[in-house]
Symmetry: C2
Subunit: 322 residues, 2 copies
């Protein structure tokens, strides 16, 4: 078992010790349903790795890592209501399996449970950890609001989009690492470099997600291929295509964006993307953020083994198929 | 100006200093709309009074008091979605004025903003304050779930009902006082006595609310008279009537509970209540909790002026008309 796998196992074992009250059933069953439904557990692992860079003993980071994972799952739960998304990780979303009210309230409870875990941080750094967490938690809400705003907005720039995914997705990766670093007693500058590394990696990660929506192997992605195209989601790919398409091609793209014919729409829009070389442009942008993240990581002075593992982690994220 | 009014003013001024980001508009406008819509500001006042009992200087209690008020308003915001309640304090509820998604997300943001304020507590007591807050916040969710469960449950006892209002309403009053006491550096026993005082007062307060639904002056209450009867809500009054009614009266009551004829339903059920002496029984129960609260308060040793004001506060709550 690699050191990373061992850390992963340690987290999974710890997560199972999270004790939920048994009553009211309809409040807590959706919480344990959500938490037992897997996922990459990427964010808590970043908390633990962020700590490892500065301190061998990660026992103080376990509960905050659980807190970050519970928070992340809370956001998915509420997002699925807002996006009317019926499926999460191959199983019915909470609002589908139960109903909207239960999804709202059990989500609320999850956010409090997340804070409860975060509050088990050693009191010497509690206030610092919560300051980071409160900030990123609010930013995630801002990102989700922008995401919803963009659905009906006609004027979304690529910069707007990158700002949205920074808030909605990337800050939790950066914040997780920073929380770990603070618990590992890193100085402020080092903790911030790690945060920036997470932020840039997170933006690259989301761009990769956008690319995989069309160019990934849909079976491994676990989502409908081209789902973003079907919903005309303003991802980097679509925004870039809207920017570059001219004449007939631009008209064609606009026409297809209004279409309900799902398969034809995916095929036609993908063809336009291919003609415009959108995949390559998206990948270039992704690697830019990746590189930026790596230079942030290069500024970090700590345990080289774990810095190297963070480098690998980031690299593997870019080469994933799902 | 009385000392209590001066405290109230101090809080209102402080609340106005709460700075919200301006963007995204649709995330933060509903928050300021909610917070500027008044309310009794009872819970933050209890935080400040709880502190005053043990310490003259309440400056450390202001932000936590804002946190408790923001949290309370968050719960109302989400409850209104779940209860499909269109009006809050005489104005459209957030989910009516905007929509459900915006109400879910701005509510989530409010919960985080509440924590942000609570985290401004002095670090010497931060962990204690958050422990109390996390506990009561989760209990409020449990109370709301039980409240929803009871809508369709056939077997709700009066004890179940009291437990529900304890969780949904009373713990925030008790918790607010306890947070204030902790910041005032009260010892654990004193802080707990104040908590119990708040808890019992809170239960009495909710029973009074149930009574006012029918026997209050609806104009002052600001709600539709008999709203609980119209929705067949299982309050203390209805549960007691179901317990006491026999023969024809019991059949009548059951028949009216299924009726859609609002005015006739309110009149008929009120008549049954009157025949059974329900108002008196409810008031007796209310005064029992009030008395219990007062004996908890009698155990508290601190600034007598403020203990006296808490006594008055509780007494006035029982004699309110809205």
């Amino acid at each position: 078992m690699t050191q990373l796998q061992s850390l992963q196992n340690q987290f999974n074992v710890a997560l199972k010790t999270l004790e939920l009250p048994s009553e009211p059933k309809l409040l807590y069953e959706p919480v344990s349903y959500t938490l037992s439904n897997g996922g990459k557990r990427m964010r808590p692992l970043l908390v633990l790795m962020g700590c490892k860079v500065f301190k061998e003993d990660i026992s103080q980071a376990i509960h905050p890592a659980i807190g970050i994972e519970v928070f992340h799952n809370f956001t998915l739960l509420h997002d699925d209501i807002m996006d009317n998304a019926p499926i999460r990780r191959g199983k019915p979303a909470v609002h589908t399996k139960w109903n909207n009210n239960i999804a709202i309230l059990s989500g609320d409870a999850m956010m409090i449970l997340a804070y409860q875990e975060l509050c088990k941080t050693d009191s010497s750094v509690l206030s610092q950890v919560l300051e980071v967490f409160n900030k990123i938690a609010l930013e995630v809400c801002e990102g989700q609001q922008l995401d919803m705003d963009f659905e009906t907005s006609e004027n979304v720039s690529i910069a707007d989009y990158v700002n949205m995914i920074r808030l909605k997705t990337a800050v939790v990766l950066g914040g997780g690492l920073k929380v770990g670093a603070i618990i590992g007693k890193a100085d402020a500058e080092q903790a911030n470099s790690l945060y920036q590394f997470g932020l840039n990696t997170g933006i690259a990660f989301q761009l990769q997600d956008d690319i995989l929506d069309i160019y990934g192997e849909s079976q491994k992605v676990g989502k409908q291929k081209g789902g973003d195209i079907i919903s005309s989601k303003k991802t980097f790919l679509l925004l870039k295509a809207l920017e570059l398409a001219e004449g007939e091609q631009a008209k064609d793209l606009q026409k297809w964006l209004k279409s309900d014919a799902e398969t034809e729409k995916v095929n036609a829009v993908t063809e336009i993307y291919d003609q415009l070389g959108i995949r390559k442009l998206a990948e270039e942008r992704m690697w830019q953020y990746y590189d930026e993240g790596i230079s942030n990581l290069n500024e970090v002075r700590g345990n080289d083994v774990w810095i190297e593992m963070l480098r690998d982690f980031s690299h593997n994220l870019m080469h994933r198929e799902s």
